[in-house]
Structures are given as C-alpha cells and as structure tokens.
C-alpha cells in the first residue's frame, strides 16, 4: 500500500461521500458544501495525475468562484429546506432505479474495458507532472480559436447574467 493509493482512496472516498451528501442533504447550503468537498478532492486527484495547473484552476474557478456564486445565491434567496414533493410520478418511480442502473452500468463498463490493459506509463505519482508551459503552448497555439471563442462566450454570459438579474424598473 503506497502513498498514491492511500491518497487516491482517501480522495475517492471523500468525493463519493460528498456526492451522496449532495443528494441526501436537504439544506441547499449543505449540498453546496458537499459539492465543494467533491471538487477539492477531485483537485487532489488531478494533482495525483500530475495535472497541477488543472488542479489549481479547478479549485480557483470551481470551488473559488462558481460554488461561491452558488452559496451566494443560496444566501441571497435564503433558500430554506428543500421540500420533497413528488408531483412527477415518473421521476418518483423511474428516476432513482434508472440512475442507479446507469451508475452501475457505466462503472462496470469502465472496469471491464480498462482493467485488462493498463496503459504502461506511470499513472499516478506526481513525479511526471505536466508543465504549465506546455499546456499554455497547446492552449494558445493548437486551440487558439476555441480559446477566443470561449472568451467571447464568457463575455456574452456576463452580459446575459446582467440583463437577467437586474431589476426591471
């Protein structure tokens, strides 16, 4: 049992727990915190996979911006305990079984299709970490146009959010 395994299983456990909490918690804020937990543990997993930059971005953007936004909105609307209504019969009876089926199917599929042939190079262990320089090279050369496109997308999103959220007088 070596360090990466410990870290992995720890984070995996935390992530799953977080996800479950997200589902079961009735206070939206608890769900939000649970999701933050998931994200942070995922970030650690990214570190384990040697993607430091992505890990940092994951925390900064997801945990530090998006989820803060969620928490902020929850506070703003003072969203109380979620009421477990069941007007949708379909969701009530079919939803969970289907979801669970999908979960198991995917997991089983992944397991069977990849457990057999492990890709040889050292997966795990942050010894061979991706340098930010290479990543940025990729981003600004090979994927320049998508990058610009996303920037425009962000701009539009900002404007849209403004238009939507502003009080119409």
């Amino acid at each position: 049992m070596s360090l990466p395994f410990i870290v992995f299983f720890l984070c995996a456990f935390l992530a799953v727990v977080g996800a479950l909490t997200l589902i079961l918690a009735r206070e939206p804020i608890h769900s939000a915190l649970a999701l933050v937990l998931v994200m942070v543990s995922l970030a650690v997993l990214y570190l384990l996979l040697g993607a430091e930059f992505i890990a940092a971005v994951q925390i900064i953007v997801y945990a530090g911006a998006i989820m803060v936004l969620f928490v902020f909105v929850i506070m703003l609307l003072n969203a109380g305990v979620e009421e477990r209504t069941d007007y949708s019969k379909l969701a009530r009876y079919a939803g969970l079984p289907l979801g669970m089926f999908l979960l198991l199917a995917l997991a089983h599929w992944m397991w069977n299709s990849f457990i057999g042939k492990q890709i040889a190079n050292g997966v795990g262990g942050s010894n061979a970490s991706v340098s930010t320089r290479e990543l940025s090279a990729q981003l600004f050369q090979k994927y320049l146009f998508p990058f610009e496109a996303t920037s425009i997308l962000i701009l539009i999103a900002i404007l849209g959010a403004l238009v939507l959220a502003k009080k119409d007088e």
Partner: protein, 102 residues
C-alpha cells in the same frame, strides 16, 4: 513507487457521474439541480484528465480547461435565471414551476 491504475479513476468518474444523474433526477431545488449538473461535469473532467494522463497527451487537459470555463459561464447565466425565477414565483421547487406545459 507503484501507481494507481487508470481504470480506478475511470470507475470513480463513472460513479460520480451516476450519482450526478441520480441527484439530477432526485433533487427538487433548482439550485441543487444545477449543482448536480456541475457534479456530472466534474466527473467527466476527471475522466478527461485520466485519459490525458494515460495517453500522455495534453488535449484532455485543454478540454478540461474549456469545460471549466463553459461551466462558469453556464453557472453565471443559470443562477441569474434562478434569481429571476425566484423573483417571479417565490419558490425554488422545480415542481412548483410548471406553468410551461401542454
């Protein structure tokens, strides 16, 4: 020092995705449903990173980057919409916001 098999990550991502879907169907609060979507995105991201690692290619990471950015945009707009909805209907329960039918 031994390494964690790639399939572990993939299975984890599958599980998280499944849980995301379950949450997506199970939750009633719009905001938490949003969170479910974010959870699914995260699961996919994990798979991306794992594959990028497995094949020693950076494209996967770039995709993750884009996914995160788009998720940010989506969250911004989505939450704005949520606020508007709340202002109009005084509820966040998605089952009570069912005017758009038939």
């Amino acid at each position: 020092m031994s390494t964690v098999p790639i399939s572990y990550y993939l299975v984890l991502s599958a599980i998280l995705f499944g849980l995301g879907i379950v949450a997506f169907v199970f939750k009633r609060n719009i905001i938490t449903i949003f969170m479910a979507i974010e959870l699914m995105l995260n699961a996919v991201n994990l798979a991306f990173v794992a594959f990028a690692r497995a094949h020693n290619q950076l494209d996967g990471l770039v995709f993750v980057f884009f996914v995160i950015v788009v998720a940010a945009a989506e969250a911004a707009v989505g939450l704005a919409i949520v606020i508007t909805v709340y202002q109009n209907r005084q509820t966040l329960n998605i089952e009570r916001i069912n005017l758009l039918k038939f």
